[in-house]
Symmetry: C2
Subunit: 183 residues, 2 copies
């Protein structure tokens, strides 16, 4: 079976929503994902807020309670019938996220065996046919076919096939052929 590697944050786990929610609560702001189109949060907020932003990732609870991205569970379950599915996350950037990410995957994607989790840094090390990821940095390193999953920061990128949501992923990987001339 062809192998699809799937990123976690912003692809199956809504880390950005949690990040904005903490920021808005701490600084009485009302920033939305819409405000972040083509930008990083650091472009929008005063530099004196940055240390507080970094600290969100030092809290193990951050990664434990992320919402699941709409449609990802259903579509990945369907994909798993036709493709070998691996979850591949750059967890080494935030070591305290290792255990919470493992637990989160077990809770929300129990049909993917831990044998198919990959916690890494540089995704150039991943041997797969496809990588669905919102990080242009990682897609540039990956040796197979990269698929860009839309997130606010990547909307101006044009070098990779793009999916905007999990319906688009289903359409790309599970579309039925149209058979002409069958009686």
């Amino acid at each position: 079976m062809p192998r699809i590697a799937i990123d976690m944050d912003e692809v199956v786990a809504d880390a950005l929503a949690e990040y904005l929610s903490r920021y808005n609560a701490d600084f009485e702001e009302k920033l939305t994902k819409q405000d972040l189109l083509g930008k990083r949060l650091a472009d929008l907020v005063p530099s004196e807020h940055w240390p507080r932003l970094d600290a969100y990732f030092d809290d193990e609870q951050f990664f434990r309670n992320l919402e699941v991205i709409d449609g990802s569970q259903e579509v990945i379950r369907e994909l798993a019938e036709h493709y070998d599915i691996y979850i591949v996350t750059a967890a080494m950037e935030i070591p305290c996220s290792l255990a919470p990410k493992f637990e989160w995957l077990q809770r929300h994607f129990p049909f993917i065996p831990p044998d198919n989790y990959v916690f890494c840094g540089n995704k150039g090390i991943v041997a797969a046919d496809y990588l669905i990821d919102d990080s242009v940095y990682q897609l540039e390193r990956f040796q197979g076919q990269g698929i860009l999953y839309t997130s606010p920061r990547n909307i101006n990128e044009t070098r990779f096939p793009r999916v905007n949501d999990w319906n688009d992923v289903r359409e790309m990987f599970l579309r039925k052929p149209v058979l002409a001339g069958t009686a």
Copy 2:
């Protein structure tokens, strides 16, 4: 640069020594690595001891305090000048080992960046030219050239090039060519 993936347990971290030391202390035994040649510990000890053996891995401290395998630091430092080095460990089998393994690598191999750590299950997902591993199971799945690092349980295996220690690894990957006819 060609890429070498290197396993942790029994290749750079002496998990078996710690395992035997705990077993011998708990049951007043004197088992050695020599006793384990071609066997698993479960073949040698009464089945009523097995639950205690499994429990060693549930202790986070187990993976924090492992001895470094002789020669691994020096040789990997030399290899890193000519090869792209990744540490690849099947940590998903034992989720409580994730954080301790990260800390252990930072302490004992500070010259390998965390970007080059891979914590996975099935090593068939690893895109590298070589994998140095004591697990036949993993070498069978790996798509590049597998190199079997000798450990007691694998001494009867003949399907892979074998290294008995880190001097053998140095010899295999860093041997200088003999130049005939140079004046």
